[in-house]
């Protein structure tokens, strides 16, 4: 129970260690007097793909943060008072104005959804917020969980290590998609009538993503700590009688920045994809706004209204692709040996 899944049906890599090191590496020129992180940052800034990807990611972050402001600039919102003023139920519920049949409608720049008449731009912007919010909070929790468990397992060793490693392997065997699938009906059965159902769903998602996303980083940190703790400076700190907590925080943690950054760069796109995927299946966000949910609805209208599908789809693909490629560039920058 030590290997992990990578196939498409697992929604990509929720919990991944960096891929096997490619020995076909260019030797990095040695630059003295700079911290490894600064060197990495310099490399990253010179990598054109990384810069473009970072810009794309930044764009989505701004959209997510200023979702409300963007909506008011375009004078759109997520509420639809009367759907019949916007869509024609005699014509498959397609919009009366704007795409797909009536050109561009300045009141709804992205068009409106069929049947519900919801404004696509407002849903797109808030979908972006949902996506990034869930992904980043889940990443935060998963990394904190993973880093602390990895540190404990690696540093304390013995029975603690055994127990943590067992649970790491155990969670690695359970695909998170199945876990989410199992938990979804229970949550819906219990809370469907609750006024806070949308919020409860968000929390449920974040918990599921975090609980099934920490293993990769925990393993990575554990391995790193195991090799670090035999090094002289940790031994020295121990001999000097530094308390364990202080050694962990002051001596070990700074050396673990690189693997943590790498893990986070892998987790974020995986979580974005996972959130949208679950919503697409109808087991993620169902009573809120999510790109995945829109895609699910839009695939039924694809023949007559392709734009409706393309909007959220491009959103997810661009965000996930940019995050993935940026992550790849970060890994390369931190460890030039992995260069293809």
């Amino acid at each position: 129970m030590s290997a992990q899944t990578a196939g498409p049906e697992t929604l990509g890599h929720l919990s991944e260690e960096p891929p096997p090191v490619d020995p076909n590496s260019k030797q990095a020129k040695t630059i003295t007097g700079k911290s490894p992180l600064r060197i990495a940052f310099g490399r990253l800034a010179r990598d054109k793909i990384a810069v473009v990807c970072a810009a794309v990611v930044l764009f989505f972050v701004l959209v997510a943060v200023f979702a409300g402001a963007i909506c008011s600039i375009f004078n759109v919102d997520t509420e639809t008072v009367l759907a019949t003023t916007r869509v024609d139920f005699l014509n498959n519920g397609l919009p009366l104005k704007g795409p797909p049949n009536h050109g561009f409608d300045p009141a709804h720049p992205f068009g409106v959804a069929p049947n519900t008449g919801n404004d696509n731009l407002a849903f797109w912007v808030y979908g972006c917020r949902t996506s990034l919010m869930i992904a980043s909070i889940a990443t935060l929790f998963a990394s904190v969980l993973g880093v602390s468990l990895g540190l404990l397992a690696g540093f304390l060793g013995g029975p603690v290590d055994k127990i943590i490693s067992f649970f790491t392997d155990f969670f690695l065997t359970v695909p998170f998609l199945l876990a989410a699938l199992t938990i979804a009906p229970i949550v819906s059965q219990r809370f469907a009538t609750s006024p806070h159902y949308a919020r409860i769903q968000l929390i449920d998602l974040i918990v599921v993503l975090s609980v099934f996303g920490w293993m990769g980083i925990a393993r990575l940190i554990r391995g790193e700590v195991l090799s670090l703790r035999e090094r002289e400076f940790i031994q020295a700190a121990r001999v000097l009688g530094m308390p364990t907590r202080r050694i962990l925080v002051k001596e070990l943690l700074p050396n673990l920045v690189a693997p943590i950054v790498v893990s986070i760069s892998l987790m974020l796109p995986a979580f974005v994809a996972a959130e949208a995927g679950l919503a697409f299946l109808g087991i993620g966000v169902t009573s809120g706004i999510s790109w995945g949910q829109t895609i699910n609805t839009a695939s039924n209208f694809f023949e007559v209204y392709p734009l409706f599908l393309w909007e959220p789809l491009i959103g997810i693909v661009a965000l996930v692709l940019a995050l993935n490629l940026l992550g790849d560039a970060i890994r390369d920058a931190l460890d030039p040996k992995t260069r293809r």
């Binding site: 899944t5 196939g7 076909n24 199992t182 109808g282 997810i316 993935n324």
Partner: protein, 335 residues
Amino acid sequence: MFAYVVKRLIAGIVVVFMVSMAVFLLFWYGPNEPARPLCDQQTSNHCDTARLARYTENLGYNNPVLSEYGTFVKGIFVGRDMTIGTKTRPCPAPCFGYSYRTTVPVWGEMKTRLPATFSVAIGGASLYLLFGIPIGVAAARRRGTVADKALVSSFLVLSSIPYYLFALLTWLYLTVIFEIPFLSDTGYHPFTDNPAKWFSGLLLAWIVLGIFGCTQYTRYSRGAMIEALSEDYIRTAKAKGLPARTVVYKHGLRAALVPIVTIFGIDFGVLLAGTIFTERIFDIQGIGFWSLQAVTAKDLPVVEATALFSAVVLVVANLLVDVIYSVLDPRVRLS
């Protein structure tokens, strides 16, 4: 070797037991009215307090949880009788309860859906290896060339796109927009009924799953192969005067295969446990689609059974991977 397998087997059984316990408890304590979905279903949404109480009693939710877990486990091995509404029905082993939605034994329906999922999984996974490994090996042998770089970056981009979007777009374009004749009729038709239909219904799913999966296998194979080809024993093999083909395949690929097979075993297990996205998008009535429908209908016994089934499949897959690994690597086998 034998002791090793036994050890892994015991660990596997412990994990299955833990998962079954966890799933059972989740479905016991999770819903606040566990019998409500069945009651609603049976009474056409006229479930009142008295009826709900009766269903709750009949489903055993008033008994102690551990004794009910015992009944549940016993039912899996020897079968049991279950009271659904007013009737008591037999539930032969392996009994996973009755579906709330269709009121048939869960295992009976699962059996009819397994071939669909297995067909998708076996076909897709074969393509992983069939394309992934040769392309990866070829790229490794030509590493650094323009072709290799183009392949690596295009596969990186392709595998960065979420699988379900790739699959959804392919399905929409090929079957809804262009209506490609042989591919459009996706779905599962039993092989024994009509092999040609079986094949054409699954073909697109296989191709999409296979292409997407093979990008990752190409990456693994390429990495593993580059590593293997840089080993000292490859130089030895060359120095012996072996032909290049023998050096690459007998010596290089043999070593690179170990990590690839390990990952593949787990991936294949995940596919067997339910190809949810593929089944949902290509409308294939397998385990994955079934569990999705069950979630929507709050059909708790079905969700519970599929979760257990997946856990067992994954534990078995892991066990097999460990055994295969020790067969492939004599250093593990004999230590």
